[in-house]
């Protein structure tokens, strides 16, 4: 059976909208994806039928809410193939998940003179928290560069690794280049050098390999809103041994065992890292998104997304004066480009008048823009529901803008 993209499109109510009198062509999925009706329904159901605080209630609604919230943890555990559901920590998003590890791991394991490695193509969310930690712990911040195609220079990485390297953090897929980094190889190399690894999976978990055990990731972070779920919920997976050993990130309710004036002891996993009333409905919405994806065959999703990407690249490369950034042979879902003589902001704004939603700018990856010697790009990014017509609308839009500007 192959995917029925028309049917899938009809599952996402927002895709029926018009923008500026034109049918919406939504190509800003790396920023956030749209939500299927089942996710919207799950959220509405929660608020209309069983909204209640969790883990401490003695009443019926609280039990229902706790059950759904914890069942969601199991759904997510299964999706990423974590060994145990208590290795799945709920956070606000990828950014908070990374900050949690940068803090807790830093406190426990990073000392003056130690080293931390990230990549030149990381999102600011997987860059700045490590820089801050290095400053706090007086550790050295190291960066793996990328080559002209947008592939990481693994030979440089090999030279950066040494017995002072404590942790390596990298994005599995670059949000600005679309490169799929060789995660298994990077993780193997880091482990051989005795370093832990955090995978920023914000742009990969919805597209490619997301098996944390097969990857052998120590930490793995992603955002619900980029995988058809709601905003305000993210996942931090951590191997139990690390999560047990690290100190908590924030103090407060839920994360404690016993509190007295002399001493406080902490709750068991995963609650040790979930201080305060959590986003109760977030995981429920995210689990609904994963249930939705689980109705499909993953290989077919990947094949469809790849096919759309390659079609789009071919069409875009046929446009005079267009430069595509990120030409790794291992790539997914991202089309970053500029057109000679047209500012990316102008192109993005004028595409919007035709109903085509893209993003423009540096995409929170200023080091990439510096390396490429540009200020920014236009970025079209794909999801499951995008098809050739979306690409055709984008290409027609670009031709229209070129004509309008006499380019």
């Amino acid at each position: 059976m192959t995917l029925n993209i028309d049917k899938i499109r009809s599952d996402f109510p927002i895709l029926k909208s018009s923008v500026n009198g034109k049918p919406l062509v939504y190509l800003d999925n790396a920023a956030t994806t749209q939500k299927p009706q089942t996710v919207i329904d799950a959220i509405t159901q929660y608020y209309t039928k069983y909204n209640s605080n969790i883990h401490r209630g003695t009443h019926h609604l609280s039990n229902l809410a706790t059950e759904a919230h914890e069942a969601a943890r199991k759904t997510i555990q299964t999706y990423i193939n974590a060994q145990s559901s208590h290795e799945v920590i709920f956070t606000r998003g990828t950014t908070e998940a990374i900050n949690l590890v940068a803090y807790a791991f830093g406190e426990a394991y990073v000392n003056a003179g130690d080293e931390v490695i990230v990549t030149e193509m990381d999102h600011h969310s997987n860059f700045v928290p490590w820089q801050m930690m290095c400053e706090r712990r007086r550790a050295h911040f190291r960066v793996i560069p990328f080559d002209a195609n947008g592939d990481l220079k693994l030979d440089v990485f090999a030279n950066l690794l040494n017995d002072r390297t404590r942790i390596v953090a990298f994005n599995h897929v670059s949000n600005s280049l679309g490169t799929i980094n060789p995660a298994r190889e990077i993780i193997r190399m880091a482990h051989e050098a005795g370093a832990a690894v955090l995978v920023d999976a914000a742009q990969s978990v919805q597209h490619i390999d997301h098996d944390v055990q097969a990857l052998d990731a120590d930490f793995y972070a992603f955002s619900g809103h980029k995988i058809y779920g709601p905003t305000g919920i993210g996942i931090l997976y951590g191997k139990e041994s690390w999560l047990e050993a690290m100190p908590p990130y924030q103090g407060g309710g839920e994360m404690i065992d016993l509190v007295s004036i002399d001493k406080t002891t902490y709750n068991k996993l995963p609650f040790k890292y979930e201080a305060g009333t959590p986003n109760i409905v977030g995981p429920i919405g995210l689990a609904a998104a994963i249930d939705y994806l689980n109705t499909m065959d993953y290989d077919e999703i990947m094949a469809h997304e790849d096919e759309t990407l390659e079609y789009a690249r071919e069409q875009l490369l046929g446009i005079d004066g267009l430069t595509l950034y990120g030409n790794s042979n291992h790539r997914t879902s991202i089309l970053a480009f500029n057109i000679e003589g047209i500012h990316h902001y102008d192109l993005g704004t004028l595409l919007d008048t035709q109903g085509v939603a893209v993003r423009t700018g540096h995409h929170c990856t200023q080091p990439i823009m510096t390396a490429l010697g540009i200020e920014g790009t236009v970025r079209a990014s794909l999801a499951l529901y995008n098809n050739r017509s979306d690409i055709d609308a984008l290409v027609a839009g670009i031709h229209h803008v070129k004509k309008m500007l006499g380019k």
């Binding site: 500026n20 500012h343 990316h344 902001y345 102008d346 993005g348 704004t349 004028l350 423009t360 700018g361």
Partner: protein
Amino acid sequence: MMASIEEIQNQIVEDFSFLPQWEERYAYLIELGQKLQPLPDEKRMDENLVRGCQSTVWLHRECQDGRVYLQSDSDSLIVKGLAALLLDVFSGQPAEAVLKADLTFFDETGLNRHLSSQRANGLMAMIDEIKTFAAECAAGEV
């Protein structure tokens, strides 16, 4: 006599009212941008750069006899068109009047709502810079 800030803003609102389609409005902005005198190289210095923009925007400010004189440029034509509107409204006006002025035309033309974000295009930052400079000019500090 020079038209007042209010009169100029009213004129802009009227000009835009003849352009019902957004695409026409952008085409008009782009035309305004293209007509704006390019900023000479010696005024493209770091202190004239406006922060917080997706595009590079320069804003050159001068104060003469209590009046504010402005020049601007950008690598984005749309932003340059917006800058042209701001210059139209403010450049050559008494600093006191610039300081007190209520910028109404962005709302009334719908530009406010329509432009993807003021942070992205740097309009807010430009307006802040102009107001700050007007205050210094009015106080005789520049």
